[in-house]
Amino acid sequence: MTTMTSHAPASPDPEEEELDSEIASIRAEIQNLQKHKRILTSSLLTTDPIQKLLRKQPQPPTINPTDPLTTISPLVHAAGAHTFSNHHRIAFGATAFPFKDPSPTANGATLLGVRIDVCARNGRFAKPYYVILQKERSRAGPGAGGANSKVLKVYRHTVPAFISIAKLESVYLPRPGVTRDNGDGVEGGSSGEDEDTEPAKPWKKGGNSARKQDLRGFVRELRRELVAWHMRVDAVEFLREKLGLVGEGGGPLPFDVSPDRDTGIVSLAAVAIEARHVRIEWVDGRVGRFKLSNTGIVERAVVIGDQGRDKKVEDAITGGGGRVETVLDRLRVVLSGSPGL
């Protein structure tokens, strides 16, 4: 601290500067090590043998005031609970939690939060997605079950905008008498399902068709869509890596890249954040675009060169099962044989 402040007014002496940078790097290292230590301690606490061991001790026979076990036990419990919920998050991908809106004008009821975890290709988890649902008293006609009947409604969410929560909601969480601007009019597709996540309550509404809210279906479809998006992004990233278009740090390379040797591709990138369409550029000026399906199949492809569409390449992109991961292999077969590259 003192070195930092004292250095500021004085003119920078090269030697001092060097010392300062050294100090800063050492501080950063200390911080890193501390972080590492914290991670290690908590991982140690959460390991199965230790949890078992510490839990097995019923009541320590001799209550020693300096016994480290008694002071450590809340930590152990917290670590155990944390691992437990992490296991759920990893295994099921969708977990629920209660949330209390701090706003004084909120209607006081606890909100239902759903957390969706998606594992990305590099073995890490993406930022969790949240959907916060509000329980709303049904304001339906006289046929409604009175105060008992509660319907769920999406209150807040962190799902990217190209996945239409409104549409999903209108299908899986229909509410009587509510017409949203978009997505309205799509009849529920899963009204026949028996499984309900909530305890059975009569969600029958007078007048409207007796569509049930299907929270499980809602979360399932939403998660599927999110996972599909991540897979598309990962697939594009995978192709870019195979082409050598990704730099060391994962960032894009400077503009001039040498074309891929076999396929002559100079650029391959998702068109938008949604990563539904992928654009390819070849070194000879051909431009292509293909569409990815949720299951990782290339649905459609268009390649246009100077002489119009290049059907041969298009067929190579969509053919052979159409898996996106093997697109480059198929292109290689077609393109490496063709002259003029």
């Binding site: 972080k35 914290r38 991670i39 908590s42 991982s43 959460t46 917290a78 670590a79 609970a81 691992t83 992490n86 990893i90 949330f99 809106d101 701090p102 706003s103 004084p104 004008t105 939060g113 957390r115 975890d117 990305a120 590099n122 890490r124 988890f125 993406a126 930022k127 969790p128 997605y129 949240y130 916060i132 807040r156 969410h157 962190t158 799902v159 990217p160 905008a161 190209f162 239409s164 409104a166 549409k167 999903l168 601007d181 978009n182 997505g183 309205d184 009019g185 799509v186 009849e187 597709g189 899963s190 479809e221 869509e225 994962g250 938008a272 954040i273 949604e274 539904r276 369409h277 949720n294």
Partner: protein, 482 residues
């Protein structure tokens, strides 16, 4: 370089990219003068780039040029493009005023005129450098449903089909088809260099002729320029509101439909039509958000996570509550200060989570610094009310917030969302307008200073709704009636 004026027939084509504005136009100096020196140099390099130089040819010395013509001007014309490029590289290397670059461009290498496209590029470059230079309104594209009441069967397999796909060229073509009978326009479409946005710059004139005879000043009249921005992968459109009190340098006496406001409405009306396809029609709807800052719009009406969770819920948008499932540390043991610093210093990959991302529990263990219990409690409340909004983590400044309060004096707990009995009497309305560089951040500061009670303030003060205009009753925003 004057265009031949022999044929002047009204057409419906758009204004050509290469329509040149005389370099002597004084306002041209002004509109280029908005840019920084570096930006001007970058532009010049772009124009002189091998791929572009055909569109923006610099004034070169030709053999039949009379040399004495050049002597009159301060800048001798270059012989080749390479030579011209060298001039700007020299300018790049040495420090100097931007004045000399502008003069070099206008009186030297582009003395035959700046094309409309060049002007558009300069304007967009300015927009990239100054994302808060214009006031933008966010509009939502929503599908007009053609009542598919018989589709009781399968749900649509594609939940992400709500965003209309935009092919730039096709879109401009159909937009042109929509507005060409009414106005003459020049279009320039470009993807922003810094933001995930596609800008469409539309310049409108009220002349049916290919080379309008108006004064050249008209081409730099900023009130005739309409910007439309299309954020990537989300059903929103941003438009600029042209300043209504724009320069009246070009009195539009010819017809009614040519004052800038009308032109703007025309263009705005035709955007959804141009995006629509058979069986798939869209309309634009207001989203009660207008802000000067494009990043704000992207945060509140963009493709990202924070579009539908703000205020207290921004902790979810930033995933600041809990860490990754692989993080062994219980999330309440990681102090938020450290976390905020950590995640702020490394604003890495947009959606990828880094492993050590864990942070504050909703309201427990927020704070470790020694504070008086009162201020500690207040800090907890502020954290729980504002989440990460208004802090350095989520910079989405609103420059203006208009609130209309419709509370009846002494009204009790009458529910909020039915406007049924409103017709019988007119409730007293109280309008509040906050303006500043960052309204929500300012309210947060007030709460930190103890001027605003963080526990009792209504949620619109926390920016939870993500709007800039709202009608509020009983602390809740009314959905309609905007």
């Amino acid at each position: 370089m004057a265009r031949p004026k022999t044929v002047r027939a009204p057409t419906t084509a758009s204004l050509p990219n290469n329509l040149r504005i005389p370099s002597s136009t004084p306002s041209l100096t002004k509109s280029l003068g908005k840019l920084s020196r570096q930006a001007l140099l970058d532009l010049a390099f772009t124009w002189l780039d091998d791929r572009n130089v055909a569109s923006f040819p610099p004034y070169l010395q030709t053999n039949d040029d009379t040399p004495d013509d050049d002597d009159a001007l301060p800048y001798p014309a270059g012989k080749t493009t390479e030579e011209v490029r060298q001039v700007y590289e020299d300018l790049q290397d040495r420090k100097g005023a931007k004045r000399e670059v502008i003069e070099r461009i206008l009186e030297g290498d582009w003395r035959h005129g700046i094309t409309l496209r060049q002007l558009a590029m300069a304007d967009l470059r300015y927009m990239d450098d100054h994302p808060a230079s214009l006031r933008w309104t966010a509009l939502e594209l929503s599908r007009i449903d053609t009542k598919r009441k018989n589709s009781k069967g399968l749900p649509p397999p594609d939940w992400s089909g709500s965003v209309p796909r935009m092919q730039a060229a096709t879109f401009v073509q159909s937009l042109q088809r929509e507005i060409s009978p009414l106005v003459k326009a020049h279009y320039h479409l470009a993807h922003s260099a810094t933001l995930p946005l596609t800008f469409l710059r539309i310049f409108v004139v009220d002349s049916p002729y290919q080379s309008p005879r108006q004064a050249a000043e008209i081409f730099t009249d900023s009130s005739r320029v309409i910007y439309v921005a299309f954020p990537d992968s989300c059903p929103y459109v941003y438009t600029s509101i042209a300043a209504s009190t724009g320069s009246k340098s070009a009195p539009s006496a010819s017809s009614v439909a040519t004052d800038t406001r009308t032109l703007q409405r025309l263009v705005r009306d035709s955007i959804p039509k141009a995006l629509s396809r058979p069986q798939e029609r869209f309309s634009l709807q207001v989203t009660s958000l207008a802000a000067k800052n494009l990043p704000t719009l992207l945060a509140l009406r963009g493709p990202g996570r924070s579009t539908a969770s703000n205020g207290a819920f921004s902790i979810f948008a930033d995933a600041a509550t809990e860490g990754s499932p692989l993080d062994p540390r219980p999330s309440n043991t990681v102090s938020p200060e450290e976390h905020i610093r950590a995640s702020y210093s490394s604003p890495t990959e947009g959606k990828e989570n880094t492993n050590g991302r864990a942070s504050k529990r909703r309201s427990s263990g927020i704070d470790t610094a020694p504070l008086s219990p009162d201020s500690k409690k207040r800090r907890l409340a502020i954290h729980s009310r504002f989440g990460t909004l208004g802090s350095s983590l989520a910079p989405a400044p609103l420059d203006r917030l208009d609130i209309r309060l419709l509370d009846k004096p002494g009204s009790s707990d009458e529910q909020y969302d039915d406007d049924v009995d409103d017709s019988t009497f007119t409730p007293p309305a109280l309008s509040l307008t906050f303006s500043g560089s960052d309204v929500i951040g300012g309210i947060r500061r007030l709460a930190e200073l103890g001027i605003v009670d963080p526990e009792r303030m209504p949620s619109w003060m926390t920016g939870e709704e993500g709007v800039s205009v709202a009608t509020v009753r009983l602390g809740r925003r009314l959905q309609k009636d905007i």
